[in-house]
Symmetry: C2
Subunit: 477 residues, 2 copies
């Protein structure tokens, strides 16, 4: 018995003339002779050549799409196209049969909608194998990037009592039996009797706790799940998704921008370096999808082109006020091509962000210094009394990919903004404490992991870049 | 203005004779002359020497424990002990004051209990700085280990409809207003009207979903938060904790053991390699803690000794049946030194596990093939009809650190075990599907991240190795 070798290793080495064993699942079986065997290590399948004369017909009948096999044989140079080597089988063992009449995955193209219904099996398709290998490579690149810079990975809490951040609707967490909730004399739920002794929710962001870490450890980042109980059934929303949120003591807005730009380029470069095969496959898929769209809606760039567009150019930096002036004077505004008219004070829409990136600058853009009214309480107030030291990074195709700011480090200013936004200083005493004791300029930003994966894989629906999407009325698996 | 340098970088280089700027927080200020400045990058503080004659007394008064400073000066060789270089300050800027009368962290030893109450500030102490840097280094080492082996990092769902695993009490997740729950005609909560259209909970394990990934991607691992709504107020329990759960197609029990042993050694080696300073500090703390204990309860090994004990030796492997026989014939059993008497079929207690590791074999131990009755439904049944292909890895001081098994890949056998344990095949149809379509031998295990950090840092209470612990009636920050 030869030790098992992974198909990626076998194909990458390109070496031939030796015996080995591989294990995997049958993707296709042609002419009772050619098995395409895949073990998940790469999007490429290994061609296994069966000697149909010498093989038991009963065994041959069991070699069907989806069956798990162990194959021992000799690696030989492949006469066929598309691969350097193939495996000439000498011994085939069926590890697990697969009934073709009931197996939902047939050797044909299935719709993404259908595959979402069988998310427990979609890992076995080319597209989703590629998507989840890219997802892995990006997660690892994120950890490597921050580790190399001396950041500390901080696990901020998932269950939180804080509902003060105003970042959207929250899920409630309880150990109560909903059939039998203890009540106070007034008839309200008596949360003193619940597990945590008070109302608890799922976090919408680890930022505030991340800041606590940064004010002792210097530079930290979170990478964890966050939640929104918003009833949005769109291709852009999930109830459960993963966020990366770095927070850095002693960083001002420009340091923050530099870090965000460096990180995004590092991640794109990592995907290109480690996922070449998978991105090529996804790039072809992207082109096919685009062809289905009306001409006007098609992407001007292919998938790899978009990645290089972001990798090769310095990001254009300008203020919100400059961006609005530019949009107001743009041909699009004059020809009334924007759905939402432009004026100072507005929250920029995706169409405006994409205009800046794709039409005007033709490079990624960082917009800074937004009006205070449309940004969160914790962003640092600028001296003009109108704007805050916010920054949004805008990418082609999707608009905002990162949102961040220098944080308001001045106790009095922060308190004042909390009052304006009706956020309780008593609830967030611990957040204010960092401004009372040894405060310092600091900054941070947030990156939605699934948005990043969508950008890099070209997958149009966010449900197709997370293994088991949670959306309204959907909690399967 | 010189670009800021991190204190770790400055101290590690040992170079002197140049001007630079550092930023950090004052740990202590002695004789109006010596500032110990820490920026979180290392447990070591930089000695900053102030020229007290040339410095404004008003400024000197603001240099107090906890204040945030920017210091520019010249790096010079240090005449003092404990550091190669120090910084002769030429310019000191107070970034943030700290009122010594209200600042909870004084330059003295605080109890861990007190520091838990101010978890938002404990990052600024030596002990917790070290613990959370070690936590980071271990998290990164886990990702690096699996990435090097070609595993795919899989984000399994946090919110789940599955409550079938029987791994403990679960938290409920709902978008209902608990004051106003929609009711069915029978008066029960109408979950069809809840966010997901059915009851939802927080996950207790990503294993089952991990297996789905492994059956397409080959080798996967999870690293995410898991939850237990158990009302346990102990030094060993958290309501929210992080788990690492690898699942591998084509691995049998021995492959599983090999992976677990290799991983644990890799992680210990990584901590020793990357966290030397922090582990030295934690080792001293551990020794001091042990000295407070009665002689009999003291650890026989120091912290670093325990790490090397696990790193340097092959783990002893034996079956549960062999382990029970060994314990039954042990001097401890004969002298009735075990609190729980030993017999085949029992769930081994920590005292038995530690006896095997610390007294008998004097090395880490892997016990395999436990009685089916005390293990979960998904573990592979052995041919003896009594035991399953389980494995527990036992470590000194703590007992079980890893639990795993070969998974039952045979559809009929799995179904039969689910029936015995009253687990609904309809609910877990997706889990059974992997056994219906191309099943194969596969294995996996689980490692509690906080248990690992406790082992490596020597921290006795699990609440001291996670930034913001969640326990009954405790959800601060």
């Amino acid at each position: 018995m030869h030790p098992r070798v992974k198909i990626k290793t076998l194909l990458q080495s390109g070496r031939s003339g030796y015996e080995t064993t591989v294990k995997g699942w049958v993707r296709t079986f042609r002419n009772n002779q050619f098995i395409a065997l895949n073990d998940g290590s790469t999007s490429a399948s290994l061609q296994v050549v069966v000697d149909r004369e010498q093989t038991d017909p009963a065994l041959l009948r069991r070699i069907v799409t989806g069956a798990a096999l162990s194959v021992t044989g000799t690696v030989i140079p492949s006469p066929g196209k598309g691969q350097q080597v193939e495996l000439k089988a000498t011994e085939i063992t069926i590890l697990g049969d697969c009934d073709p009449d009931t197996y939902p995955l047939q050797p044909k193209k299935h719709s993404l909608e259908f595959l979402r219904e069988i998310a427990h099996l979609r890992f076995r398709t080319n597209t989703f194998g590629a998507v989840f290998r890219v997802r892995h490579a990006l997660a690892f690149a994120i950890h490597r990037f921050f580790n190399e810079k001396g950041f500390v990975y901080l696990h901020t809490p998932i269950i939180t009592a804080s509902d003060a951040e105003g970042a959207g609707e929250m899920f409630r967490v309880t150990a109560f039996d909903l059939n039998d909730i203890p009540r106070s004399a007034e008839g309200n739920p008596d949360f003193r009797q619940d597990f945590f002794g008070r109302p608890a929710h799922l976090t919408v962001s680890g930022q505030l706790e991340g800041e606590l870490g940064a004010m002792g450890l210097g530079e930290v980042y979170t990478f964890g799940p966050t939640f929104r109980a918003e009833n949005s059934n769109t291709a852009r929303h999930l109830a459960e998704f993963w966020m990366i949120e770095p927070e850095m003591a002693f960083y001002e807005l420009e340091d923050n921008m530099n870090l965000a730009e460096e990180m995004l380029k590092y991640l794109i470069a990592a995907a290109l370096e480690h996922c070449g095969d998978d991105l090529e496959l996804l790039g072809k898929r992207f082109d096919e999808e685009e062809k289905q769209k009306p001409q006007q809606q098609r992407s001007e760039m292919g998938l790899l082109e978009k990645l290089k567009f972001c990798l090769d150019q310095p990001f254009q930096r300008l203020t919100y006020t400059e961006a609005i002036a530019l949009l107001e004077n743009s041909p699009y505004q004059k020809k009334k091509k924007f759905q939402y008219p432009v004026s100072w004070g507005m929250d920029m829409q995706s169409e405006h962000e994409r205009y800046l990136v794709e039409k005007h600058f033709k490079k990624p853009v960082i917009v800074t210094d937004y009006p205070a009214e449309i940004k969160a309480f914790y962003m640092r107030q600028n001296d003009d009394g109108k704007t805050v030291a916010a920054m949004d990074v805008l990418f082609p195709g999707i608009g905002e990919i990162i949102g961040g700011s220098q944080r308001e480090e001045r106790y009095d200013r922060l308190l004042q903004r909390m009052e304006v936004q009706h956020i309780s200083p008593e609830e967030l005493y611990w957040y204010l404490d960092t401004r009372r004791f040894g405060t310092c300029p600091h900054s941070g930003f947030g990156l939605g992991f699934e948005r990043l994966i969508q950008f890099i894989t070209g997958m149009g629906n966010i449900r197709d870049v997370i293994p088991f999407p949670r959306t309204p009325r959907n909690i399967s698996f």
